[in-house]
């Protein structure tokens, strides 16, 4: 091939295009007012609603409800900015023909995925930066107590966001129009939230629900968040009797790695291929 292309420098690297993608994704996100408001307000509104209604309840282990719930709402917020936002956006971009242009330019799929992941990490950080002060100052929820707990919070949030991104890319390969896909994604996310113990104490859910939830990242993301926000002794009330950090990391990393491999194979730039 070099014989034919001597007059032309090699195309820009995947990393170079990925950086350009992160920039343009963030710019587009910021200009989509509805999406910005929804992504940032949803967790805060949930915190306010549930905190106000159930603020006096105490869960097993003596944990006040708002404290338990902050872990769940942080996790569900991450799922919103990663899984839901990415799945929906890709379906829309495909329908508008934007992905077709990327394909014709020879964009490596990995660069496109990386652009999504970068945008998700930034918007997730902004969302959490807004949610935590509301919980702290509105509902007296203690923030992670020391550096170790903050680090736990960070790696769980980052891995959760990446796993959600990968899952979002994966579902965007399903057939159907952008609007039908958006509906399916929302429905799946709502069900998964209930199964994963976002709204209830996870150990109180039926066993089969717990088992289904354990397959998906949200349950592990929520549990990891609890380990960052709840007091150490509350870990005894988890199903496994502890926080299971090792397993949490394993499941989330597995989702990212296997997910990327699946996405590279199933990803479609166009609506249908003949």
């Amino acid at each position: 091939m070099t014989v034919l292309t001597t007059a032309r420098p090699a195309p820009p690297s995947t990393a170079h295009i990925a950086l350009a993608r992160v920039g343009v994704e963030l710019r587009l996100f910021a200009r989509e007012r509805q999406q910005v408001v929804f992504s940032f307000a949803y967790p805060v509104v949930m915190m306010v609603v549930f905190g106000s209604v159930l603020g006096g309840d105490v869960l097993p282990g003596g944990v006040p409800f708002p404290q338990y719930f902050l872990a769940g709402i942080a996790a569900t917020g991450i799922m919103l900015t990663s899984f839901q936002a990415v799945g929906t956006a890709i379906a829309d971009e495909r329908e508008a023909g934007q992905l077709e242009r990327l394909q014709l330019l020879g964009t490596p799929p990995a660069a496109y995925f990386a652009g999504k992941a970068g945008q998700v990490l930034v918007t997730t950080a902004a969302q959490l930066a807004l949610l935590l002060p509301v919980a702290r100052y509105g509902y007296d929820v203690p923030l992670p107590v020391d550096l170790g707990h903050w680090l736990t919070f960070l790696w769980v949030a980052a891995l959760g966001a990446l796993a959600g991104t990968v899952l979002g890319i994966a579902v965007s390969a399903l057939p159907g129009s952008a609007s039908s896909l958006t509906t399916s994604i929302s429905a799946f996310a709502i069900v998964l939230q209930f199964f994963s113990g976002v709204f209830f104490a996870f150990p109180e859910l039926p066993g089969w629900m717990q088992q289904v939830a354990a397959v998906f990242p949200l349950k592990w993301l929520t549990q990891g968040m609890r380990s960052a926000f709840l007091p150490e002794q509350a870990g005894a009330f988890e199903i496994a009797g502890g926080w299971e950090h090792g397993r949490t990391a394993l499941v989330l990393v597995a989702w990212v790695i296997i997910g990327v491999m699946v996405c590279v194979r199933t990803f479609r730039w166009r609506r249908a291929d003949g």
Binding site: M1, A7, R8, P9, H16
Partner: protein
């Protein structure tokens, strides 16, 4: 292949192989053959128009050549490589003016061009592109607020941004008003002048006649004729029709020797006029309609 004598060489690379070489291309959808053994050759530096009615297989052909659609059978070489397996270095050498929008409706024209400049190692400067497609005044307008014609112009700018050797234009002027069409034609001529090979599809005869060095008429999934626009359907054009009124009805005689028919006709009526007498030759449109097999029909 020994057909590149007259073609100007592209500026970036030389090469004596044709820009596009297709042999026996086949593609069916759900058992229905859209391309049924299509042969095609586009020379370096020429503008080739693929002309045909909707559904004739123009877009499918272009998509196979762009490497975004699989073929069922046939040999295809675009700039010397098989599009089905060619890599990014090959893709950098072709440009596509597609129907899809840019990077997003919320980006301005300038932002869109600046963004996509980062995907190529040989971008034309954004200011130059804006001037070339006449979008300077719209540079800071968001893509979502452009008119249809302005979007097409942005698509053209994106298609040629990486200085391609070969540009695909799939029905580029559909939906454009006459002024925009003429501006667009000038753009294509400018590209040609720079040595770029252009392959365009169209169902407008005047567009093919205006722009193309050679026209390939596609019908039923095959190329039925390839010729410079003025010579298209030479055999059909030789045939004239002599028409006149006789016994209250029209008589029409198709003939390659109209003078002989006229002599006989005049000899048979020595005293008077021949009512309604005309001799006509088919124009480009008649020829085209005959070639694509819809005699008397309107091109759709």
């Amino acid at each position: 292949m020994t057909t590149t004598e007259a073609a100007p060489l592209p500026t970036t690379t030389g090469g004596l192989t044709p820009a596009v070489e297709v042999r026996g291309l086949r593609k069916s959808y759900g058992g229905k053959a859209v391309l049924d053994g299509l042969d095609l050759e586009v020379r370096r530096g020429e503008c080739f128009a693929l002309l045909g009615p909707n559904g004739a297989g123009k877009t499918t052909t272009i998509e196979v050549l762009e490497g975004v659609r699989r073929r069922d059978a046939g040999e295809v070489a675009v700039l010397g490589e098989d599009p089905a397996t060619a890599g990014r270095a090959w893709r950098a050498r072709i440009g596509v003016v597609s129907q899809g929008e840019g990077a997003g409706q919320a980006l301005s024209v300038r932002e869109t061009l600046d963004h996509f400049a980062r995907y190529t190692s040989t971008p034309r400067p954004t200011a130059e592109l804006l001037a070339a497609v006449g979008l300077e005044e719209k540079a800071d307008t968001r893509v979502g607020r452009l008119s249809g014609g302005q979007r097409r112009r942005l698509a053209v700018a994106l298609g040629v941004q990486g200085r391609p050797e070969l540009v695909f234009l799939d029905e580029p002027t559909t939906g454009m008003d006459p002024v925009a069409r003429r501006q667009f034609w000038q753009l294509v001529r400018d590209l040609r002048a720079g040595g770029t090979t252009v392959l365009l599809t169209t169902h407008y005869l005047d567009e093919a006649a205006e722009l193309a060095d050679r026209v390939g008429v596609i019908a039923g999934g095959r190329l039925v004729e390839v010729a410079p626009p003025a010579e298209l359907g030479a055999a059909l054009r030789r045939e004239a029709t002599v028409r006149w009124r006789e016994d209250g009805g029209w008589r029409a005689v198709p003939t390659e020797t109209p003078a002989a028919v006229l002599r006989d006709l005049l000899a048979a009526s020595p005293h008077g006029e021949v009512p309604g007498l005309t001799v006509t030759r088919p124009d480009l449109e008649d020829v085209y309609l005959q070639l694509v097999g819809t005699p008397g029909g309107e091109p759709r």
